[in-house]
């Protein structure tokens, strides 16, 4: 089977964010991560494109994405002091949305930095 190659891919495992990784992947998983360090290789090879988990869970039970989004929105909207936290393992685009969310909610906003 031929693998697709992504050149100069970026590794977000640690803060170094190396951007010279050569990834060899099929539809499901990455088979090779050339130039990545031990940690980076493990990071790339451990993720797959499989549907391992349900789309969403509400109170531990499987739910649709739409239901989960509405439930999340309701909980956050009703809270007197909601908290938005984390944002390490995600993109800047998502981070911008998170700050916008905290701003809209009038809540707390914090990242890993404060730990």
């Amino acid at each position: 089977m031929t693998l697709t190659v992504v050149n100069n891919a970026t590794c977000t495992f640690c803060g170094c964010v190396c951007d010279d990784i050569e990834l060899h992947a099929d539809e499901i998983k990455i088979h090779k991560a050339k130039k990545a360090c031990v940690l980076g290789t493990a990071w790339f090879l451990n993720h797959t494109a499989e549907r391992k988990y349900p789309d969403a869970l509400i109170d531990g039970k499987e739910a649709t994405l739409d239901e989960a989004i509405e439930a999340a929105a309701t909980y956050l909207h009703e809270a007197d002091m909601p908290l938005v936290y984390g944002m390490s393992n995600t993109t800047c685009e998502a981070q911008r949305e998170c700050v916008a969310l905290a701003d809209l909610l009038g809540g707390l906003l914090d990242s890993h930095t404060s730990l």
Binding site: T10, T12, G15, V17, K29, A79, A94, C98
Partner: protein
């Protein structure tokens, strides 16, 4: 290490000094290893700050750090003679007793070294894109973390609005967790509070936090199956190039949809001034 225009011999043109509480693999890769006693980093850096200014520090007092005055003097001498010095520091410094003051000590030392030569300092950030979170929060709110919007504009106070403190004190009544697993890393009282209140988790995996949450949504993995941008620890943004197609939506998409759903509900703040000049 790369060879460069100004350092043509690469590694040979550089001096690497490691300061740690035990000899690690990195120690072998360095020219000099200084073994500091656990919990004495702040003292050692403060001594160095005094020594670069030719202030006297007693030999016995210095020795308590595990590093001798002679070693300190030698280090100061090398630092001053360097053409361009760079200090990297990690969580061994910033997460141990003294915390932000330990980092502040090193940053101050780097600043003060510029009276003699060129010096910079950089935190070795863990956790992928935590730098991006800092950068984004700064431009959108003016502050890097530890923020509240409860008065309708950003306010900042680490210790008051930082998550561990907020959770331990029980100061929040709903939590939205993304790209982190506090259920695995935070102190137990903080985790207990997360379990008490409605917690919502966005993550590519079912995490410890997911298990105590009311809502979990599975998302694609940044840089593997989700595109976007990440900031390197020196605040240089880099594009992400996913090699896989995820069956799950991206964080960005899900957060936006939650935001849009909330925007349809009643806005929480009563009409008032658009701009104020006296903040609390």
């Amino acid at each position: 290490m790369p060879k460069s225009k100004f350092l043509p011999r690469g590694r040979k043109d550089r001096t690497a000094v490691l300061v740690d509480i035990r000899p690690t693999k990195s120690a072998k890769a360095c020219d000099i290893f200084l073994q500091v006693r656990p919990g004495k980093d702040f003292e050692l850096i403060t001594i160095l700050r005094a020594l670069i200014k030719d202030q006297k520090v007693s030999e016995e007092a210095v020795a308590e750090t595990g590093v001798s005055l002679e070693q300190c003097n030698d280090l100061v001498d090398r630092m001053k003679k360097a053409k361009f010095g760079c200090m990297f520091f990690g969580m061994g410094l910033s997460m141990t007793r003294g915390k932000h003051m330990n980092s502040a000590a090193l940053l101050t030392l780097a600043t003060e070294m510029n009276a003699f030569t060129k010096f910079v300092a950089m935190p070795m950030r863990g956790h992928g894109n935590v730098t991006g979170a800092d950068v984004v929060m700064r431009w959108q709110t003016g502050y890097p973390f530890g923020i509240t919007f409860n008065r309708g504009y950003p306010r900042y106070n680490p210790g008051e609005f930082s998550t561990v403190d907020v959770l331990v004190r029980g100061d929040t009544d709903a939590a939205f967790i993304i790209g982190a697993d506090p259920g695995a890393t935070m102190p137990q009282p903080a985790i207990d509070h997360l379990a008490r209140i409605p917690t919502i988790v966005l993550d590519p995996h079912i995490t410890h936090t997911s298990k105590l949450s009311r809502v979990h949504i599975t998302t694609s993995v940044a840089g593997i199956s989700a595109p976007g941008t990440a900031y390197r620890m020196d605040e240089i943004p880099l594009p992400l190039k996913p090699a896989l197609k995820s069956p799950y939506p991206t964080d960005e998409e899900v957060v936006r949809r939650i935001k849009d759903a909330i925007a349809k509900k009643r806005f929480w703040m009563p009409e008032g001034e658009q701009m104020i000049t006296a903040q609390i």
